[in-house]
Amino acid sequence: MMEQNVTYASGLAALGGCLQVLAILILAYPEFQKTQHNIKYSERFEQILVPLNILCQIAVGLVNTVSTWYGPVSIVIPIRVSAQLIFNMLFFGKLGIENFPKDVRVGTYIVVSGALILPIVGPTAQQGQNVVELLEQPLSEFWTMILFSLTAVSGFYCMRFIATKSNGKKKLEHPYKFVILLTARVTSAVLSTSISKFLVGTSGIGLLITICAFLACSVVITCVAILQATEVDQSVVSLQQVFILNPSFFTLTHRLFHSSCR
């Protein structure tokens, strides 16, 4: 296990949040200029944007994973989320891409101020934690099982939804669609964050299992992201983004769908 340092963890989490917003901005700003100000870009320039976005997302993934190695997940995630919210508001608001009403601005400041206080009142760094021992605690096993079960069940439904959509159905009709998507997104994100912390604390078979679990979570996250981009109203998605936050993926998915439609 790496030496724990909450300052590093918080800084990296904030950087991850900022980079994620920048990743969206790379695609969103030229699109905004094109549609609103009729500015035309060269084809070559437009072709660079998507790979640039992907590169940014890879950087985001790396920074986010590393940030969990240095501090408690319960501090890292809120700081990452609040960084995304504030940078999203700053960049998109200043550039005029999006208008943020007063309640959204105040809400953002409330979340950010809360996240900033977390390292002062919340958990401190714990050095030398043994991941295997932690997981062997009965309560820990129980909670992990709940998270895995919820991720597996909701992930299964998400894959079924995607299969239904790929069969040509435009709109999914399921009474618990929103609950399933939200559960899949939240549980998989929580699991993947903890699993990414396990990556540095395990070896051998344990590491292999961790990598498999991490990939499984990534599959679920990807499925939900695709479904969210096409199935959930934007106003609802914005709430989910507060919890799970993969907006650049939404944008990318939109972009890919848009490109494939041309």
């Binding site: 809400g107 409330i110 932690l134």
Partner: protein, 151 residues
């Protein structure tokens, strides 16, 4: 979910610096998220039309009490029931005396003036707008018994 995971799996409960502070910050974050979101838990329970009618009625009662002293009490009773008839006819019942009829005329005039003071509109326009407001939605029932609305 992250907090619970942190507490259970990562044993954050051993190193929390301030339980009270941590709880309050969590509440603050949840409230902030609620403020940002499009969810509104009271959107269906609150009736803005009814609230507006109550506001108008309360203003009328205040004016009446200011002018007539204790005579405005009967309207306060009417307000508690939320009766649109009472609201729109914010004049206390008379005792059958001729003198009172004159006073009622004055009261009518006063009530009209009070209504005119809302947004500088005319009494008829205001009545029309309130009538249309009450023609739809859950407040429709409040219109029951208000046949003499235009009286």
């Amino acid at each position: 979910m992250n907090t619970i995971t942190g507490l259970i799996i990562w044993q954050d409960w051993l190193v929390i610096q301030s339980w009270g502070g941590y709880g309050v910050v969590m509440c603050q974050i949840l409230l902030g998220v609620y403020l940002i979101s499009s969810l509104d838990g009271y959107s269906h329970s609150a009736d803005s039309n009814y609230a507006l009618a109550q506001s108008i009625s309360i203003q009328l009662v205040k004016d009446k009490i200011r002018k007539n002293g204790n005579r405005g009490k009967s309207m306060i009773v009417g307000l508690a029931g939320g009766n649109i008839k009472t609201m729109m006819n914010a004049i206390p019942e008379d005792n059958g005396d001729e003198d009172d009829e004159e006073e009622d005329d004055e009261d009518d005039d006063f009530a009209s003036k009070s209504l005119i003071s809302f947004g500088g509109t005319t009494i008829d326009a205001l009545k029309d707008s309130i009538r249309s407001m009450f023609s739809y939605g859950s407040v429709h029932s409040y219109m029951q018994g208000s046949e003499d609305f235009d009286a």
